[in-house]
């Protein structure tokens, strides 16, 4: 029977029998990840995994350090991409059909409502997770040692997250979409407020020009919907993914996540060691030397860094998978119970009262109600510039990778939280109770309103307070902590005021139940 075995048919049969093994071998190259070598190879050879190192520092695996926030942001993005592509099957971006197709998705299409909810809440969840991720990176002092530029990329990703969310908000073409579009278009036009004051609008009307570029006309109409749709599904995601690639690439090039200098392992860390080595100590003393120890260059210190690294497969991959399923579960359960809003068809004649932007911009809308230019362009621009410059203005290289850079930082953060709350809430109370300059002097020129309004005063206070902290503690890091804490605080407080305490005509109400019926 030897002849049959060596015949073409015989070899073909054995190929079929061995299909599973030969396919796996071609896929994994180094075989199943059962030894340290093959576990390393699986990370290095896989296109999707190789952006991460074959080894990972134990500090990175500690849930209390990263809180998984960067990963959660990434997974939320993936969820919105998948659900977004599915929604595009039915959505039609024209003012005649947009509203009806979204309604169909909501009420007729199989699982349509769940997908739309997941898309909406996944996207808005990204805003929260990205801001929290930024806060984690900031408070653990992780924007230093070559990571300065990656912080800026992160700020750009935050802006893109806001932009994609906002452009998506306009697509259903219901009342919320339409009036958000009108308001955004006018914010884009708001530099006109300044050119008007300077009297140069006739020569240089940058505001109206930008508005026309955005809307494709002078009013929000079908041209505008096409442009917003293009921004939402093509231009902004494209830029987002490019920046995301750079963001991840630079994390790798910067040597992974930050870790505290005096990092200490625990006994329980033996769980990260796989297979036979587990019987030995956590990190066996009989170490081998590689090329790394021979080359004269900046290498990890012997007996320190190298030893606190463990294999990424399976430790990191398991943790990442767990975070993914956690994120997916939260989004699905939330979307199952909470519906994304859909109002009546857009009506250019009747604004909603109050006409509110999506919640993540209601803090800005509160500032907008003082001055369109400062609230919509001036102050957000200043805040983003300030955020981007943090790593360049605070260059102290101590206590990297330590939450709040130690005890004093915790105290400063708490102090700024209390002082900031008192000042901001006090300021808002004055504005709500007594009004502002125009209430007192109705004929006041617009220039004064642009220059002196509650938003500017608050930002001015934040800057002066941070300088005061720097002077008192003799540390720029402490000043940065004060400034950043107040920035987060003002985002939360202003968003709360805009969302819950502002009713029809943007008047103050303690709760929605007090709104007048109309």
């Amino acid at each position: 029977m030897n002849g049959l075995k060596n015949s073409g048919i015989g070899r073909f049969t054995s190929n079929i029998i061995g299909l599973r093994d030969s396919f796996l071998k071609s896929f994994l190259r180094e075989g199943k990840p059962t030894t340290d070598l093959s576990r390393t190879a699986v990370m290095a050879n896989n296109f999707f995994l190789h952006v991460q190192g074959a080894k990972v520092h134990i500090n990175t695996l500690r849930p209390g350090y990263t809180l998984g926030l960067g990963l959660i942001s990434l997974y939320l993005l993936l969820i919105t991409v998948v659900t977004g592509i599915l929604l595009m099957i039915y959505y039609n971006p024209s003012i005649e059909n947009a509203y009806n197709t979204v309604k169909d998705v909501n009420y007729v299409v199989f699982t349509g409502r769940l997908l739309r909810n997941m898309h909406k809440w996944g996207g808005e969840g990204m805003i929260i997770s990205v801001i929290l991720h930024m806060a984690r990176v900031f408070y653990t002092n992780s924007y230093k040692k070559g990571r300065e530029f990656n912080w800026i990329i992160g700020v750009a990703l935050l802006i893109l997250t806001f932009g994609i969310n906002l452009s998506g908000y306009m697509l259903p073409w219901d009342q919320l979409s339409y009036w958000a579009l009108v308001i955004v278009a006018n914010i884009i036009q708001s530099p006109k407020e300044v050119t008007d004051v300077l009297g140069i609008t006739k020569l240089f009307d940058i505001g109206t020009f930008s508005k026309e570029l955005f809307l494709g006309g002078l009013n929000a109409g079908k041209e505008a919907l096409t442009r917003v749709y293009l921004l939402h599904i093509m231009l902004l995601p494209l830029i987002l993914f490019i920046f995301l690639g750079v963001h991840f690439w630079r994390i790798r090039k910067d040597g992974g996540l930050t870790k505290p200098e005096g990092f200490e392992i625990k006994d329980s860390d033996t769980r990260y060691i796989s297979g036979q080595e587990r019987k030995a100590e956590v990190f066996p003393a009989n170490k081998t030397y590689g090329l790394m120890e021979l080359v004269k260059a900046k290498t990890p210190a012997v007996n320190r860094d190298i030893e606190n690294n463990v294999l990424s497969w399976p430790n990191l991959i398991l943790a990442e998978t767990a975070v993914f399923f956690f994120t997916l579960a939260v989004v699905m359960v939330y979307s199952f119970y909470i519906n994304a809003p859909l109002r009546e068809l857009a009506n250019p004649l009747i604004p909603e009262n109050p006409a509110k932007a999506p919640w993540y911009f209601l803090g800005l809308q509160e500032l907008l109600s003082y001055s369109a230019f400062m609230g919509g362009v001036g102050l957000p621009g200043l805040a983003l510039l300030g955020l981007a410059l943090i790593p360049y203005l605070d260059r102290e290289q101590q206590q990297i990778g330590v939450w709040f850079s130690g005890k004093r930082g915790k105290y400063i953060a708490l102090e700024s939280l209390v002082v900031g709350s008192v000042v901001l809430i006090g300021l808002l109370a004055i504005v709500i109770k007594y009004g502002w300059l125009r209430t007192w002097w109705p004929d006041i020129p617009q220039l004064f309103i642009i220059l002196i309004n509650p938003g500017n005063i608050w930002v001015g206070f934040m800057i002066i307070w941070s300088l005061f902290v720097i002077k008192r503690t003799d540390s720029t890091r402490m000043g940065a902590i004060a400034l950043f804490t107040m920035f987060l605080l003002s985002y939360v407080i202003l968003t709360y005021v805009g969302t819950e305490l502002r009713g029809p005509n943007w008047a103050f109400y303690w709760s929605k139940s007090q709104w007048p019926l109309h």
Binding site: S190, L218, L349, P351, S369, A372, N505
Partner: protein, 158 residues
């Protein structure tokens, strides 16, 4: 001028040519980007004309006000004549409502008096007064692209 300073300002043929080559690459790139931006600015507006007819004077008896919703304008008829006030809030473009004190914007709380002058809120400018004219056939024409000073009215020929 000493000869040394002249030496410094002199440019070698090699670096002149390099610079010229560099700029001949940079300038087209800028022009290209400019062209892309210009392409984005629309040359056709798919919108209704902002100069429109509103019928004859009989439609507007003295002492009345008409709100033309789709044209976003209020037409007032008084003893002095006719005037048109825009209903677009100068803050962020919401449509203002008429109230006992004048106009009120529902979006961010701007208030205007009966002449459209800002009296409260964030609006940077007063509501604009549009030009009204009477055509040769007697019909009234509002031109929303032309602003007239507040208080300008169209006296109707009797």
């Amino acid at each position: 001028m000493s000869s040394e300073t002249i030496d410094k300002t002199e440019i070698s043929r090699r670096s002149f040519l390099s610079l010229a080559a560099l700029w001949s690459a940079v300038l087209p790139a800028i022009a290209l980007l400019g062209g892309i931006f210009r392409m984005v600015k629309p040359d056709v507006h798919y919108e209704e004309s902002i100069r429109f007819r509103i019928g004859t004077a009989e439609n507007f008896p003295v002492g009345t006000m008409k709100k033309l919703d789709d044209k976003k304008v209020f037409i007032f008829s008084t003893d002095n004549g006719l005037h048109a006030i825009s209903s677009i809030c100068t803050h962020l473009g919401c449509i203002v409502n008429i109230t006992e004190w004048g106009f009120q914007c529902p979006c961010h709380g701007s208030r205007y008096n009966q002449n459209g002058k800002v009296i409260a809120g964030p609006a940077p400018r007063s509501l604009s007064w549009h030009e009204i004219s009477q055509d040769i056939d007697g019909s009234l024409v509002v031109d929303a692209s032309r602003e007239v000073p507040a208080g300008t009215v169209l006296k109707l020929k009797a």
